[in-house]
Subunit: 129 residues, 2 copies
């Protein structure tokens, strides 16, 4: 699969795919005789994994570390697992914060509904807790 198809598959641009590879966010991609990228199943799985982690807000930096450890071989298994666990914990925390914000936002929207029904004025709206 060429870079254009890979980009379409993951809704990324070809530039982003090349960028990811250049900075080591994904391991070097398989090439054909002309030096063109030809994404293998494994290459595509890397893209899939990285895209997923990026969408969840995992930093490029820690993903680069993970990928580079992966390329170092089996000795790095423990370290790699630790990185994943750290990222997992950060993710859990982020989800918690967002759920709290969601609750506050819902309250604020509630407040607007009440205000609109009661024809109340601006100042009373709901910005004082």
């Amino acid at each position: 699969m060429n870079i254009k198809q890979a980009a379409e598959k993951f809704e990324l641009t070809t530039d982003t795919l090349r960028y990811y590879e250049r900075i080591g966010l994904i391991p070097p991609v398989t090439r054909n005789e002309s030096g063109y990228r030809d994404y293998s199943e494994i290459d595509l799985n890397w893209v899939s994994f990285i895209k997923c982690m990026r969408e969840a807000g995992v930093s490029v930096e820690s993903l680069i570390e993970y990928v580079s450890l992966f390329q170092e071989g089996a000795d790095s298994i423990t370290t790699r697992k630790e990185i994943l666990i750290d990222q997992r914990n950060e993710l859990v925390e982020k989800i918690r914060v967002m759920q709290e914000t969601l609750a506050k936002l819902d309250e604020k929207i509630e407040g607007y509904e009440e205000n609109m029904l009661a024809f109340q004025t601006e100042k009373l709206a709901n910005h004082d807790e």
Copy 2:
């Protein structure tokens, strides 16, 4: 409350507070005789709200729009409510994506545990789905 105390209260820097005000992310803050900022209860509630929304990843841009509509007065109530609802929906979607990623991450960590028990090699790890 001066800017330093306000910054401490919300674990922001004084520079960030000034920046937020300058770009219209919070309405103009109350000043004392010397022109120094003196955060009122209402000013602090704005900071609290904005900090919360920013932590949840709501863009500076849409918050500026919200704040500027607020300053326009009661006519903008409907529009402001719509902005909050849009942001709420985006937040729900972000939480969904993150929960999916969390599940994948947990699977991958599982995979590492199995691998480590079985003394399996790198290649078999778990990067192929």
